[in-house]
Symmetry: C2
Subunit: 308 residues, 2 copies
């Protein structure tokens, strides 16, 4: 029995995980989800990355967008707009059920881990999905002399701000959620999903105990590059890597993960960079990393499992 721990951001991670869940028993897999993107909208606690993973594994995700629930409607949101409230964060009606329940259970005193477990059970997701922490960590974008909430940067401002720095407020004092350190230290395999290294995986690595557990791992750790030919399929990973002083390339990704991973999986189009990454002391696997169909996801998951 091989125990696998996966560090997951949003859409890219979910696509790999839906493949992984087809070939790995739920008992042997723990997914750690990013909560640096979490936000409150009208007092509702929203965990975008946890939900993307949960909805994807439940088979209810809106595949055209990669997030939200398929065939969702927007009656609540339209009413809120009509009443004069801000509605830049697109919340579907069915999606809102999740946020209402999450907020309710949190208000009743449950931890985010407990709530996530309960929601996963309701959605029929058998694999354990655990938020990186039950405490509040918030990713912030420093742009000029402004500090911008992450979702405001991503959704409202459509990633147009120049990024001078990224902060993970609260991470220094955050404890990993129950079970994470035990899982990381006992795991045979750690998978860093193809997510934004800085914005999605970064918040987890900013939690001291998580970083330390990964640095001191006995498991083989493998990262799948979210950068293909210098670009991301979705989101601002390329721009953010550049802003933070990394190349927007598989090499930049590899450098960012130095000490934290043993192997990097890069796309065939980046095969020429293999040697440069190996010079960093990392193993490299070249594969097809673009996941359009569930078969693509299963294929890449097999590569990931086979590589360690």
């Amino acid at each position: 029995m091989t125990v696998t721990v996966a560090l997951a951001g949003g859409v890219g991670a979910a696509k790999l995980l839906r493949g992984l869940c087809r070939i790995v028993s739920p008992r042997n897999l723990l997914i750690i989800g990013n909560t640096g993107d979490d936000l409150e909208v009208y007092g509702l606690h929203i965990s975008p990355d946890l939900d993307i993973v949960m909805y994807t594994l439940a088979g209810v995700v809106d595949e055209s967008k990669g997030w939200g629930i398929k065939k969702d409607t927007y009656h609540v949101l339209r009413m809120l707009r009509r009443l004069g409230f801000e509605t830049w964060f697109r919340l579907g009606d069915r999606d809102l059920a999740t946020h209402i329940i999450r907020t309710h259970l949190l208000m009743e005193g449950a931890t985010l881990s407990e709530v996530t477990a309960q929601l996963c059970e309701k959605f029929g997701v058998k694999t354990r999905l655990v938020p990186m922490t039950d405490q509040k960590v918030r990713t912030k974008i420093v742009s000029g002399n402004q500090i911008i909430d992450f979702q405001e940067y991503l959704v409202k401002n459509e990633m147009k701000n120049e990024v001078a720095d990224v902060l993970f407020q609260g991470a220094d004092d955050a404890r990993p959620a129950l079970g994470i350190i035990e899982a990381l230290s006992q795991a045979d395999r750690i998978i860093v999903c193809p997510s934004n290294p800085i914005l999605s995986i970064g918040p987890m690595l900013a939690i001291p105990e998580i970083r330390k557990a990964i640095l001191q791992r006995k498991a083989e750790s493998v990262a799948i590059s979210p950068i293909i030919a210098g670009k991301t399929l979705k989101g601002p990973a390329d721009k953010i890597l550049l802003s933070m002083g990394y190349e927007a390339s598989v090499l930049g990704v590899a450098k960012y993960y130095t000490g934290l991973v043993d192997r990097v999986i890069i796309d065939r189009v980046d095969a020429a960079q293999k040697v440069r990454i190996e010079k960093l002391g990392l193993k490299v696997t070249v594969a097809d990393t673009v996941m359009k169909t569930i078969e693509d996801s299963v294929d890449l998951a097999r590569v990931v499992l086979g590589s360690t």
Copy 2:
């Protein structure tokens, strides 16, 4: 300038008030709303009677039901049911926008009065609608050895429980919301809307300062009987009157309001009871009290205003 204060429950009250608002300037009318029916569903604060009045005055109420927003959909609720949560309290998608905002503002520290004023403004309702108190008062039904939440009795159990007693938990210690006592003591006219005397008006009368202000009024006070020919048009007023030892008749209503009103308006079908009510020392006006159209509402409002 005649200042009018109206005590309002739900559907019956709203129907009279939509007529009253056509002929009385918003400046000269204050509506006190019942909040004994308030409840929390999935952590959302719901004020059914305030919303019925607000939606009706805003012209968005679902007229076929008398509550909720017209042409509403139930996508959030269906999702909640699918996830295994109780959904006996029917919350429409557009209606949910109200509850989400109310809960959010309350959590941020606003009083229910402030929230209600803000919601009314958003919905374009110019008449002042004030909850009877900003504190928590909850109407409970005593049935056998059970104490049942009001909405559970009304909606979930469809009023099937035998009612031994009605409690207004918290009323003894509740202070009227800001402005209520001033309005009651300065009013020229107090209108007790055609609502359930015990369940809808009762919670207000259970707040000591409100009862005292009405008992000591300088205004003429007039109640419109919600009972017509021994029956209610909607809700359990007839059954509850009987349970609490009153006749289910206009006379029972008049007796319940003894000392609190100077006049009772009864339907033509009950004209024969006029003399019996007058023997209680009350004035009686006989009128058409069934309001089907807005014209019916305006006509009855004119009778109410003309009678004092």
